[in-house]
């Protein structure tokens, strides 16, 4: 589960970055900032909590359930982020921020699929908890 743990750490950092980008664009596009904030906080907290549980929890079954559920949520939030961040309505004046956020969500999306599959296999956790 070390690889899953590292991936969770990476995903937490990625979504913390999305949150920071949201804060940076708040004066420019408040709606985009809110959506960046929701995606960043939700996904970041879920992955951070999963990382914390994996570091401290000895019960593999419980840990597996937490990671599987968090991974599903992060996949869904990343997908929403990828669909939304490059749209006209949420595009900030500095469009580079949008492309960076899109890329971060893409990596988060792939990483969470990896976490989901590996955790489910290694801890025998069903994909529907």
């Amino acid at each position: 589960m070390d690889k899953v743990k590292n991936m969770l750490m990476l995903i937490t950092v990625l979504f913390a970055t999305v949150l920071v980008l949201g804060i940076l664009i708040r004066d420019d596009n408040i709606y985009a900032a809110i959506i960046y904030g929701i995606v960043g906080v939700s996904a970041g907290c879920l992955s951070g909590y999963s990382y914390y549980e994996l570091s401290n929890q000895t019960d593999q079954t419980k840990c597996g359930k937490i990671i599987v559920f968090s991974s599903w949520m992060i996949i869904s939030l990343s997908l929403a982020g990828m669909c939304l961040f490059l749209s006209d309505f949420l595009m900030p004046a500095e469009s580079g921020f949008a492309y960076i956020s899109f890329s971060l969500c893409f990596v988060g999306f792939i990483g969470s699929i990896y976490d989901l599959i590996i955790t489910s296999k290694e801890t025998d956790t069903p994909l529907a908890i």
């Binding site: 809110i34 929403a80 669909c83 939304l84 908890i129």
Partner: protein
């Protein structure tokens, strides 16, 4: 310890899959979060948002919010009562109906009102999916109403075919996505009029009464409230089942309010249109796609469960058969120029007035009739192999028809769905009690079930 003891002694054999005819065993029960997401997947559909938009065209935002809160409060109460029954019985709605309608009565009622209505709505939603896809991506062969109905219907069949676990996967994937896109659709609307304060300050007079609004909200979701044991039978406890239902209704209320605000501010009746206005083309497409999918696979799942009570083949084969029929209807209507399923929708709506009557009878039987008989609450619908059911409970069957007709069609005051529920439930309870007192048999024939639930 007690749970483990029960688990090892589970006396049933699930030969049709997904526990369609037998109680859900402890090891197959799901968490409250899982229940919440599957329920949220059912309401996360464009049709619900269209219902909210319909309210938005009749009411100003303040009145619409009051109507939504009122309607959701009533639905919370009725659905909460039925959710608890489903969890305690750990069985589908159609198995629960055996107690108040008899073995064959439950097959008849369940198939007519659960199976055919759910199948009808599957066809309607598949057709609507085709309609919306063709409006989002016009000009392509794959996005024509007929073709989109076919591939959409086939995809929706896949999750229903796999069963409850696939409904859960899809709901996990779709629900956060759907909520986030709803929020953006709302923002687009609010941005257009200049802010939230402006939306609520829009003081146009409501063209309908508050009462009519509450009726519409209840009518939108009462069918799901009655059929909810099909999903909540998997819940671990009665409290988690009821809580999942209550939270789900809160989410429904928020989604409806969002749709009302969006309609009030943009005039758009379809949130997908609003998203496209904001340049979110792929998002709008996935929004419709996932939204319809999560709802419609549940329709098919419910259809297969209800037919399984009398067609004794594996549930997945029933799912395929029902899916092909529903998709075929949707595609046929889609391919025939100028045709519409709207008359069929009206027919389903009329038939739907009988669903609350059945719910009323289930509530009256579980809480009132068996309460008077002093049966312990947690064992009232406790089914065991070898247990004997009547073949037909004439009171249940006749009062469903009478209650549905009186409450839904004859009485012109009140809320039709609630009228049906109260009249049917009340008559069932009174007649059952009287028949017991004066020794008139209320049940015809006997049927002993085996360990396969047949």
């Amino acid at each position: 310890m007690e749970k483990n003891k029960k688990e090892t002694k589970w006396p049933w054999e699930d030969i049709f899959g997904d526990y369609s005819l037998v109680p859900v065993p402890n090891h197959a029960q799901k968490s409250g979060v899982s229940m919440l997401f599957v329920l949220a997947g059912i309401i996360a559909t464009v049709a619900v948002l269209m219902g909210g938009s319909a309210l938005g065209t009749q009411f100003n935002v303040n009145d619409a919010v009051k109507a939504i809160i009122g309607g959701c409060a009533v639905l919370t109460f009725i659905g909460g009562l039925i959710a608890y029954i489903g969890q305690q019985a750990k069985s589908t709605t159609y198995i629960c109906l055996r107690y108040s309608f008899g073995m064959q009565g439950s097959q008849l009622v369940g198939s007519l009102l659960g199976g055919f209505i759910a199948l009808g709505w599957f066809a309607v939603q598949t057709w609507m999916f085709g309609l919306i896809v063709s409006s989002i991506a016009p000009g392509y062969w794959w996005s024509s109403i007929g073709f989109a109905s076919i591939w959409g219907g086939l995809l929706m069949m896949t999750t229903a075919y796999i069963g409850f676990k696939a409904l859960t996967w899809l709901s996990y994937l779709a629900v956060p996505f759907f909520i986030l896109l709803c929020l953006v659709g709302l923002f687009i609307g609010v941005d257009k009029v200049g802010g939230f304060a402006e939306v609520f300050a829009m003081g146009n007079k409501s063209s309908a009464t508050l009462y009519a609004g509450i009726t519409q909200v209840i009518g939108m979701f009462i069918g799901a409230a009655i059929l909810i044991p099909d999903i909540l039978r998997f819940a671990k406890t009665g409290q988690s089942a009821v809580l999942a239902w209550v939270l789900n209704l809160a989410l429904l209320g928020l989604m409806l309010i969002g749709a009302v605000i969006m309609t009030a501010s943009t005039g758009a009746a379809n949130i997908a249109e609003s998203l496209i206005l904001g340049g979110i083309g792929l998002g709008a497409f996935l929004f419709v796609f996932l939204g319809q999918w999560t709802t419609n696979d549940s329709n098919l799942y419910i259809t297969a469960l209800s037919f399984n009570t009398w067609i004794h083949v594996e549930k997945r084969y029933l799912t395929i058969a029902a899916g092909i029929v529903g998709t075929g209807i949707a595609a046929y209507v889609g391919f025939v120029e100028g045709s519409s399923l709207n008359p069929f929708i009206q027919f389903l709506t009329v038939l739907g007035t009988y669903v609350p009557a059945i719910g009323g009878i289930m509530i009256a039987d579980y809480y009132l009739y068996r309460g008077v008989l002093k049966e312990p609450m947690n064992t009232r619908y406790n089914m065991n192999p070898g247990m004997t059911f009547s073949k037909l409970n004439w009171i249940g069957l006749s009062m469903a028809v009478v209650g549905g007709y009186i409450g839904g069609s004859l009485v012109e005051i009140g809320i039709p769905a609630i009228n049906s529920l109260v009249v049917a439930g009340g008559l069932y309870f009174v007649l059952s009690y009287l028949c017991d007192q004066i020794k008139i048999p209320r049940e015809i024939g006997n049927h002993s079930i085996n360990n396969q639930g047949i």
